[in-house]
Subunit: 494 residues, 2 copies
């Protein structure tokens, strides 16, 4: 039988996807297993792979295959499949090669400058490099701008959150901020939450982590757990690996890291097998991906129901954990504290950290904020939202790696994930009324099955907003997340 | 400055070598870390890489680069460098693509048939598949035959032991067999060697394994140790990984596995940095590679001097180990036992196992032995050399995986490694008279430094026989190995 033009296109892309999956595995190994002295060689291996992937995406052969595949009438899913491949082709061929090289070198320089600046709280080291990054990002975005892009920032956003634009994200985010600022102030005025204390043996934590991973739907037959300084999830389909980290004084670190990463991992593991090694064989956007990790970590994992079960499990595992009741444990897991650092923030404050960055980076790319004025703008906004003055740049605008790496357009997907998780959690509770009773028994199977059915299986075959709309019966909005946070945290301080 | 034609060739080859190194890492991961359910995807990843490597080696562009590099006058090392690249080009383009595909499928089928046949002691399942493998190997060898090849078997040998031929190996091996058969008979007539007994905690073994790896020159900054069912060493230059296995009842298993693999690994780690990711950046032949693992494991690791030190170290680590003196421990480490299985054999009998296979596979490829007559020929030879009748095919000609995988030409390199190790050990003791006094203190540094200087650093830049000749001051021969074995084992039974 003759292969159709579409099949030929998919077969071509399959080899590119396979090279991408190999690159992912090499990165996993670099973060978890590789010895220090192998770093230069690994850099060379990764560069060869990314060069091959770039060349395949930029090849005129790919353009011909795309045109041929479009010649026959196609259903909407096939057209989307072709469009996603074309997006890769456009990205690879849309920017002059010398600009790509310049950008790669600029990122290495700015990463070094950022590290120095952060270590010494000396922003001046970083400012010129960041100016260069912003300027190059604007050049890149200009080169890749499509007629449908209203702003340059929309082009940046598309790398992480395709099929939506900043105008519609703005509408949601603008409603988030005032209610979050209010809620934060109310919770911070209440007495401090209790804290766990004791020694938590790593071997015992490891067994608990495996148990939790399985409960949240992780399939160990297609992956594994290792340790990493910054936990992450890597891979897709039949090989998806997660990492966590252990702290003998703080078991909540390993517990909520693994639940978060397993949220990402079971998404990837449950994508329909037919999509593996195609452009549909990934999460459909960073926001949707983050919604899967966040609903597991927060709406399910930090719920009163789950923490009640977990409290018993932890007492069995560790004996006395320093808090004397399910209620105290629930409060310990959900306590708010003043802090400058995004990655250490709780459910309420986290989004305030992100919204600040979103507004600032949009202004940088839009030309409404000069890099020289970034620190002052950050500090003003931080004080307005958090009621605290930033004490030093490393606790302020120098804290994140994203900007020095030119990951501009990435931050909003964190909060978008939380907003989507809010929508999905509301729909889950509506569709499966008994779900939280089961969660109170440590049984997550109904919850994970609902996510598999409504989100996971589709991979990238359905655009993000359509996916949420279909799963929830209505378009995404900030309201479910805000209502959920209000209910949970105002009850906590009653 | 303009790049020379040779530099351009080396840069082209560097990308091919890098893809090979990636493939190696994926294989390491498959054997040590990967979950079962990821096997099909890994197969696809490896197939994509080997396809890319094949295409690069078969490309007409490579032929042009080779011709251009040859145009200028070159020194002998540069000419060898070009010749080694050309050998890859010849292998990739010398065989019709449909024969390559047929061979790949045949190997998969014969591997399955061999597994079944071995499990059920039913050789008839395997015979037709092995006939096919032998026939295809002959076709391959005919296609790749060069004017200098005297026999088809020489072509097979070249994949594993280039720069030599079976005629010169024959000369050495024919002298090995009678003296080994005599020595075996003498040792087997003596009383049984003592055996270790006790429980050997795995965590304690792990610490000992790390200590031994370091003593034998392994650099942990450019590699790591993991567990594998069949221990192996993988990688080159700045990333070389080893594996071992643990048995709570038999610490000699992990100890001599790690010393063997570290012998391979430190060879790869110590190749001159300038050779990394070039055709010189590997061991120069399987025989030379095996000589490095064997001299570490046997001449050094099973010496009276080293076992005396190791005995104290083991008593410190494990307490009572079931043998009461250094002498008893030395005998335990070097005890001979009747056995059918090559991989479990001692220093004396191992070569008899290999020589049997070498003679039989040479006869198969030469057309002097029919596959139908292989089992009988094996059993006759086994009884002649070992004085024991083979009880079942799985203890006889079905025991090794090599033939079903078409690894024909591989076996002799095991014994060649032992012969080379014999030559090198003799030269080492001559050059560094105090070396074994140091080994008796657990200090291997003079020995490993001598190997680094005389073998390791060169990688594949010097042909194997020249390398041994240069290191030893004379051409390789079987005499030093035989003298070493006679001295050691006849003293043991006195």
């Amino acid at each position: 039988m003759m292969q159709s033009a579409f099949d030929t296109l998919v077969a071509y892309q399959r080899q590119t996807e396979t090279l991408g999956s190999i690159s992912g595995l090499l990165s996993w190994d670099m973060e978890t297993k590789m010895a220090q002295g192998s770093a230069a060689k690994r850099g060379e291996q990764l560069a060869v792979l990314s060069g091959l992937i770039h060349d395949r995406n930029a090849a005129s052969q790919l353009r011909d295959l795309i045109s041929a595949a479009r010649e026959n009438p196609q259903d909407v899913t096939t057209l989307r499949h072709i469009a996603l491949i074309e997006r890769e082709a456009d990205k690879a061929s849309g920017v002059p090669k010398d600009l790509v090289t310049e950008f790669a070198h600029a990122r290495i320089r700015s990463n070094q400058a950022w590290g120095e600046a952060r270590k010494n709280d000396a922003p001046d080291i970083f400012i010129p490099e960041l100016k260069n990054i912003v300027s190059l990002t604007r050049k890149f975005a200009s080169a890749l701008r499509e007629p449908s892009d209203k702003t340059l920032y929309d082009v940046c956003l598309r790398d992480y959150e395709p099929d939506t634009d900043s105008a519609s994200i703005d509408v949601m985010f603008e409603k988030l901020r005032p209610r979050l600022v209010d809620l934060r102030a109310a919770v911070m005025a209440a007495p401090d939450a209790p804290r766990l204390s004791g020694h938590f043996d790593i071997a015992v934590q490891e067994r608990l982590v495996i148990d939790l991973a399985e409960r949240f739907g992780y399939d160990f037959n297609r992956g594994r757990i290792d340790v990493a300084i910054h936990p992450f999830c890597e891979g897709g389909g039949s090989d998806v690996r997660v990492t966590t980290r252990y702290d003998e004084k703080d078991p909540l670190n390993s517990i909520y890291s693994i639940i978060h990463e397993v949220g990402h991992a079971s998404y990837e593991q449950n994508i329909s097998k037919t999509h593996e090694l195609t452009v549909f064989g990934h999460g459909c956007s960073m926001g949707i991906h983050e919604s899967q990790s966040r609903i597991c970590e927060n709406q399910l994992g930090r719920s009163r129901e789950f923490t009640s079960w977990l409290y018993g499990r932890m007492r069995d595992a560790f004996g006395d954990i320093g808090v004397a009741s399910e209620d105290a444990f629930f409060r310990a897991v959900n306590g708010l504290q003043n802090g400058y650092i995004r990655t250490e923030a709780d459910e309420v404050q986290y989004n305030l950290h992100v919204l600040l960055r979103y507004d600032l980076e949009k202004a940088l790319i839009g030309g409404d904020l000069a890099v020289e004025d970034l620190e002052a703008a950050w500090n003003d906004r931080f004080e307005a939202d958090f009621g605290v003055k930033v004490d030093k740049p490393s606790n302020g605008f120098l804290q994140d790696i994203h900007w020095c790496e030119a990951l501009i357009g990435y931050f909003p997907t964190y909060s978008l994930g939380n907003v989507y998780a809010g929508c999905l959690y509301s729909a889950l509770c509506y569709d499966v009324p008994s779900v939280m009773e089961q969660v109170a028994q440590g049984d997550l199977s109904s919850a994970t099955e609902w996510l598999r059915e409504n989100i996971h299986q589709y991979g990238a075959s359905v655009p993000s907003v359509d996916l949420i709309t279909k799963a929830c019966g209505q378009a995404p909005s900030e309201a479910p997340l805000l209502d959920y946070l209000d209910n949970k945290f105002r009850a906590l301080i009653d």
